[in-house]
């Protein structure tokens, strides 16, 4: 155990679900991920990529089939029948739907006070103080403490859910599509809040979302997920300016920009395969415009190609300056032709 290690680390995490009479589904197939305190890591991917499962295994709601989750250098115990330890409770989650993530029959203040009351054995008074303090941090009026969740709008409820989690003084918070159920204004407000809280309280955030525009705005580092695996991870600006993985390239290119040119994005061929039957070799190869022989047979590991950037693609080599897939493909074909 490294005492100096802070933050969250997923180490070769696999999650497989067995199904009766059918092939098992490997929703997460070997993910390595780190989140440092104060850092915002965005995880993007489309339907079927496994990001929700990843959120749950990262926070301990699901036990990994293999691999482990480490929090501040100590192995995380998945939630079982026993009571969660104080240490493990420094890792929390905010769910997507603010209507179902708060108990409709308990007062807001009571729910926020759970963290301090249970974990820190706070007295009624100090718990109450903490509740009021947190409400102020998230921009909700103090009177909210004595009201019920249904009296608030979606955006406010999401902020209350964040407050509940923050009251437990976590070092890492996983957020599973926290903005998807909110309207545009509320999205902007909650996104701003998350950035501010992360910086002010030095909390690491793992922000899982399908909305690339918001992730681009908010995250320091972005990881792109496809069919259970991370195919590329890089600092946000670098990923957007030159994505190295063909899927990441297609994804980023497909995001519409208001006021942008009327150029329709290229369509990615085919459909996402059934996670129970992933293609051999590189999982993206059947849909990849640059695929060649090696892609069909050998699976590319996620390798660091330059500082802070990693890609899982045979077109890219470590140490080589990152260039776009189309450029790499052209030079690769030229190499092959030369023999």
């Amino acid at each position: 155990m490294t005492t100096a290690e802070r933050g969250l680390r997923l180490d070769e995490v696999h999650v497989e679900f067995s199904r009766r009479g059918r092939a098992p589904v490997r929703a997460v197939a070997g993910v390595n991920l780190r989140v440092e305190p104060g850092q915002i890591v965005g995880l993007v991917g489309e339907t079927g990529c496994g990001k929700s499962t990843l959120a749950r295994v990262a926070v301990g709601l699901i036990r990994p089939t293999s691999g482990a989750v480490w929090l501040e250098g100590a192995r995380l115990n998945p939630l079982g029948h026993g009571v969660r330890s104080r240490q493990d409770a420094r890792l929390q989650i905010v769910f997507q739907n603010p209507f179902s993530s708060l108990n409709p029959r308990r007062k807001v203040g009571e729910q926020i006070a759970d963290g301090p009351t249970i974990l820190d054995r706070a007295s009624k008074r100090s718990a109450r103080d903490r509740v009021l303090q947190i409400l102020e941090e998230v921009g909700i009026p103090k009177s909210a403490a004595d009201r019920f969740p249904h009296e608030f709008s979606g955006g406010q409820r999401q902020r209350i859910a964040i407050a509940r989690v923050l009251a437990a003084s976590p070092s890492i918070v996983v957020l599973d599509e926290p903005l998807s159920s909110l309207d545009a204004s509320a999205q902007a407000q909650v996104a701003n809040l998350l950035v501010r809280l992360s910086r002010d309280l030095n909390v690491g955030l793992l922000l899982i979302s399908h909305d690339l525009a918001i992730v681009h705005h908010v995250a320091d580092v972005v990881a792109v997920m496809y069919l259970g695996q991370i195919v590329e991870a890089a600092p946000t600006k670098q990923l957007w300016s030159v994505p190295l993985h063909p899927y990441a390239e297609a994804l980023i290119q497909a995001v519409p920009r208001a006021g942008g040119p009327r150029v329709l994005p290229d369509v990615v061929a085919g459909e996402v395969p059934d996670p129970a039957y992933p293609p051999p070799g590189c999982r993206f190869h059947p849909r990849c415009p640059y695929a060649f022989e090696r892609c069909r047979t050998e699976w590319p590991a996620l390798l660091e190609v330059s500082k802070g950037r990693s890609v899982a693609c045979w077109l890219q080599t470590p140490g080589d300056a990152g260039a776009s897939p189309s450029m790499k493909a052209t030079s690769h074909r030229a190499d092959v032709a030369d023999g």
Partner: protein, 324 residues
């Protein structure tokens, strides 16, 4: 280009227990052959109401006035018989969630051929052939196999394509798409948008695209009308309106969006307040309580949609008027 749909002064009022509530008012626009016409606005702005009003799909207690002329016929006040002829045959619609707009218990073949046979009175094999043609047009692989399948066998993107195929069965002149890609992944969305674009280029189909997503509008809509609180507040060519917005609301909407190349550390600037509900509409310009440029007259009088070049604007203040 020929005008297919001419909407003038369309208004919808709703009878509620507390009185008459105006849902949309004074809506004007024209849709041309082969054009993709965008209707933008947040939820509750009246964008869906407008098309439902045109098609006579509003429930009892709704009063529609104004004109919506299609093929020389005014759809407003056209009896249910007449409207049923036009719906599906001349004007068709696809919705946001293909899971609920496709019948879960009928095969694809049944869904596609039912209304085809109703409108065109053709036999089963002719209808089937047409169905296969349509499925190929929307690029569903293995069209023959698809006919026997049920909606739940397909992914979201495929289902939306099928919904479009169903809508196109009788070769309508106008296709109304209400948030067709909102529930889809962004790469799947790209495919659907391309499909709509291809269809209009090849067949002259006019598309009315309703969405709150201004990015999608930028990609596909030729012209755009922005709705707020039941009225059109700005309209014009899409790229114009979205790169040089003149109405404070349009400007505010654009400013609130994360900019792909903008400063990352700058917080997003959401519009303050919320859109008013139809029963609590502010006097004068509905946007004035949230507008940083509002003056006394904004509260007193309703702004008229004025034509300025190829733009229409309902804001006498026009704060972003460029120096001409």
């Amino acid at each position: 280009m020929k005008v297919l749909l001419d909407v003038r002064d369309l208004s919808v009022e709703l009878v509620t227990k507390t009185g008459l509530v105006t849902i949309i008012e004074g809506v004007d626009f024209q849709v041309h052959e082969g054009e993709i016409f965008g209707i933008a606005g947040e939820s509750g702005s009246g964008k869906t109401m407008t098309v439902l009003a045109m098609l006579g799909l509003l429930p009892r207690g709704a009063r529609v006035s104004g004109e919506a002329t299609f093929n020389g016929i005014n759809l407003v006040g056209l009896g249910s018989r007449g409207l049923r002829q036009i719906r599906g045959r001349d004007i068709a619609m696809v919705f946001q969630d293909p899971m609920t707009s496709l019948h879960p218990m009928l095969t694809i073949e049944q869904q596609m051929t039912d209304h085809l046979r109703f409108h065109q009175n053709v036999g089963r094999s002719v209808a089937r052939k047409r169905a296969i043609e349509l499925l190929n047009e929307v690029r569903i692989p293995d069209a023959e196999g698809a006919l026997k399948a049920f909606p739940h066998h397909f992914s979201g993107g495929m289902r939306q394509r099928i919904a479009i195929a169903v809508a196109l069965a009788c070769r309508p002149r106008v296709l109304i798409a209400d948030e067709p890609t909102t529930a889809l992944d962004v790469t799947v969305q790209a495919g659907i948008l391309r499909l709509l674009n291809d269809l209009r280029t090849r067949t002259g189909l006019a598309v009315i695209m309703i969405t709150h997503d201004l990015g999608v509008m930028s990609l596909i809509a030729d012209s755009l009308s922005v709705f707020y609180a039941g009225r059109v507040i700005e309209s014009g060519p899409t790229s114009d309106v979205l790169t040089r917005p003149r109405h404070p609301y349009t400007r505010g909407l654009l400013d609130a969006l994360p900019h792909p190349t903008g400063a990352q550390d700058a917080p997003l600037v959401p519009l303050s307040g919320t859109p008013p509900s139809p029963s609590a509409r502010p006097s004068g310009c509905a946007f004035h309580p949230r507008c940083s440029f509002a003056v006394m007259s904004c509260r007193a009088s309703l702004p008229v949609l004025e034509q300025i070049g190829d733009r229409r604007l309902a804001c006498p203040i026009d704060p972003f008027r460029e120096a001409m």
